[in-house]
């Protein structure tokens, strides 16, 4: 575990030295001495990811994702501060400094995303930057329900195939596959629309950030730390997001995305069901039917149980009433005395019994009236 030790302690020391060196540089620069910025000599993202790889095997499983999220945000913070420190040296114009910082921040995230996905042609990554967060949530969720988002990468080929009609003995099977492909394409389009919606929010969030910084300046306050700047940036992103996320346009792209994913998954399920049926295996559709019928039966059983219980109570009430009636008392002179029901039970019972009696009488009266008519 010496390697782990290195990344746990030595890397931290190395980091500390780096930032101290940077601090020293800052002080010298403030004093007018020329120094070369050390920013580009160290790949923070790589170093952090190496560090994490080394220590994560010893981390309890439940805490891993939590730590990963913290490191992700640490990376955002490091990068923001790197660019900010760099730009603080270059200009006194805060709007220019802010523009440059966020432009650099966006492009560094874009390049990181491109490296991660290996997709250099992914134009969205460039636009998105930090705004990949909501999309990342979607990717994680949809993969958790077994849909591969990269399904149908070469969609042009499928579009051509889909235009051809199904023929002959296998036509129904072909159609099922075609439906699946169409659902796949539809999902890709919905995903594109969803991404597009977010695309210009990244730009708007920088503009919102400028407004926020300006209002800080106008109120005579200052931003005193990297952390305060980071918090302001998050707040700007949230403001822009919530404004757009409440619009009917967003509700539409969001709904279409969910619906398209479900259509795709449904087509998959139907194919799987069909194959299972061919193998004489139980299908999902059959299971659903059984579950529905079972639940219906359970409801009926409960309802019948409840009715039986009510009838039992009524029966007991009537029995008690009959036993305690004067006629019954008369006959009881010849028969052994029976234990009288407690007063509380009598009281409770009588109402129900009377209600029941009345109902019976009314029904009988109706029947008689019907016969008379």
């Amino acid at each position: 575990m010496s390697n782990t030790q290195f990344w746990n302690d030595d890397w931290m020391n190395l980091q500390q030295q780096y930032w101290q060196q940077l601090g020293e540089f800052g002080r010298k620069a403030m004093g007018g001495q020329e120094e070369k910025m050390p920013w580009n000599n160290f790949d923070w993202n790589q170093a952090m990811s190496q560090w994490w790889k080394a220590i994560s095997p010893g981390m309890p499983e439940a805490n891993k994702s939590f730590m990963e999220k913290m490191l992700e945000q640490g990376t955002v913070f490091y990068r923001m501060n790197e660019h900010l420190a760099n730009n603080l040296e270059k200009t006194n114009d805060w709007t220019e400094m802010l523009n440059n910082t966020f432009e650099q921040l966006q492009s560094s995230f874009a390049s990181q995303a491109e490296k991660a996905t290996g997709n250099m042609e992914d134009g969205f990554a460039k636009m998105m930057g930090y705004w990949q967060s909501p999309m990342e949530n979607w990717r994680q969720m949809s993969s958790s329900i077994d849909i591969n988002n990269n399904f149908l990468k070469g969609s042009n080929l499928f579009e051509k195939i889909l235009d051809a009609p199904g023929l002959g003995y296998t036509r129904e099977d072909e159609n099922r596959y075609k439906d699946l492909m169409q659902a796949g394409l539809h999902y890709q389009h919905a995903m594109m629309n969803y991404n597009k919606f977010f695309a210009d929010m990244g730009t708007q969030s920088v503009s919102c950030m400028k407004d926020k910084v300006k209002s800080v300046a106008d109120s005579g306050q200052t931003i005193d730390s990297g952390r305060a700047l980071y918090d302001l940036w998050v707040s700007a992103c949230e403001d822009v997001y919530s404004k757009h996320a409440l619009t009917p346009e967003y509700a539409k792209v969001h709904g279409e995305l969910v619906n398209a994913l479900m259509s795709l998954k449904k087509q998959w399920e139907e194919l799987v069901d069909q194959r299972l049926g061919m193998l004489n295996m139980p299908t999902r559709r059959e299971m659903r039917t059984i579950q529905s019928r079972l639940q219906e039966s359970r409801r009926e059983v409960r309802s019948l149980k409840s009715e039986i219980s009510q009838l039992k109570d009524d029966f007991e009430a009537l029995k008690t009433q009959i036993e305690s009636s004067p006629e019954s008392n008369l006959s009881s002179t010849q028969a052994p005395a029976k234990k009288a029901a407690p007063a509380a039970v009598k009281k409770k019972v009588t109402k129900k019994a009377v209600r029941k009696k009345t109902t019976v009488k009314k029904t009988a009266a109706k029947k008689t009236a019907g016969k008379k008519a």
Partner: protein
């Protein structure tokens, strides 16, 4: 005026401090024990399918309200939120203030529960739990406290079984599902719920988590973890954070048929306002509610905006309607220190006044 008062060396120091905290804190994270949740002793009094009805043990020296209080939690997430830790427990505080507390734990529905409907939950499970409690205490009526979706269920229940409810407390309960600031409602309008349920069967907890995190993606999936570095060094605070984290992601799947009806009748058709909600052969009409109602909501609630709850005021026939507005959020109303001092005592006092 120049808004930035940051020097590069200050920034460097700030990052050094951050890295130090990260390095030190990771040891605590690696050594963190299993997270416990639900702190107050309780006994199981009734079980049906996956549902368990618990009764919490009251302190021996407290005089209890003769009318027990049944807490109906949402189907979303787990009810231990109301009893999350020793010094942040709504249930513990209610007990300390003399309430005899019962709680329905819905469990984790699986595929075999897919066909459970809202009628099964409300006129079935809840009603049988109420009956069990009434029988145990030889009472005709009990007090009911509904939380979030559990509050909506409690409103439905009371409107159909008013004879069994003495007092109704609703906490952060959506009533008007179409207020302009309700993001969840806006999003769900174009979702084909039938397709969703027919495809998925039960709705996975991950899907609900995604929806809730999407309400504030930058704060909830980013900033929160960044800020965590500050508590990594403190074992207790770290444990509290991890406990909350566990609760957030401990999301049971939703029984498909219930989800279908809840979204369609309430989020899409705003059933409490517009009417038309039928459970089995009964119709939900809030005007049937005549008992005293205490409506508690949170002013900074991003899941159930305050206006979504406030509207209840004019929808029931209750002569004893009261509101309690809490200056906090949807979760803070249970777990914040302020809530322990303000919310639970107010609920208990109100129940005492109306007992």
């Amino acid at each position: 005026m120049q808004p930035f008062n940051i020097r590069p060396d200050q920034l460097a120091q700030e990052i050094t401090d951050y890295s130090k905290k990260l390095g030190k804190g990771i040891q605590n994270l690696m050594n963190a024990d299993e997270i416990d949740s639900g702190v107050t002793p309780r006994v199981e009094v009734y079980r049906e399918d996956k549902l368990v009805l618990y009764r919490y043990e009251a302190p021996a020296d407290v005089v209890q309200n003769k009318t027990p209080l049944l807490i109906v939690y949402a189907l979303v997430n787990r009810p231990y939120m109301a009893d999350i830790q020793e010094d942040r427990s709504t249930i513990k505080n209610l007990l300390a203030q003399g309430q005899d507390v019962y709680l329905i734990d819905w469990g984790y529905p699986d595929e075999s529960d897919w066909a459970l409907t809202m009628d099964d939950y409300i006129n079935g499970y809840i009603d049988r739990c109420v009956d069990v409690i009434c029988k145990r205490h030889k009472l005709d009526k009990i007090n009911l406290l509904g939380i979030c979706q559990g509050g909506s269920f409690s409103l439905c229940y009371t409107s159909m079984h008013q004879d069994k409810i003495q007092n109704l407390v609703t906490m952060v309960t959506p009533v008007d599902f179409k207020t302009p600031d309700n993001m969840l409602s806006a999003w769900v309008q174009h979702v084909d719920v039938d397709l969703l349920v027919d495809t998925m069967g039960n709705i996975p907890g991950e899907m609900l988590n995604w929806t809730f995190l999407s309400l504030k993606p930058f704060s909830l999936t980013g900033q929160k973890y960044f800020g965590m570095v500050d508590v990594l060094e403190n074992e207790d605070r770290l444990k509290n954070f991890l406990r909350m984290e566990k609760w957030i992601f401990d999301s049971p799947d939703q029984a498909g048929e219930t989800f279908r009806q809840f979204i369609k009748d309430f989020y899409q058709n705003n059933g409490f306002i517009e009417g038309g909600v039928k459970l089995g052969d009964r119709t939900v009409d809030l005007k049937n509610i005549t008992c005293p109602v205490l409506n508690v909501f949170a002013e900074q609630d991003h899941l159930v905006p305050p206006d979504a709850s406030r509207v209840l005021k004019n929808l029931t026939s209750s002569k004893g309607y009261k509101e309690l507005s809490f200056p906090g959020g949807h979760i803070g109303i249970y777990v914040s220190g302020k809530a322990q001092k303000q919310v639970t005592p107010a609920i208990s006092d109100w129940l005492a006044e109306n007992s």
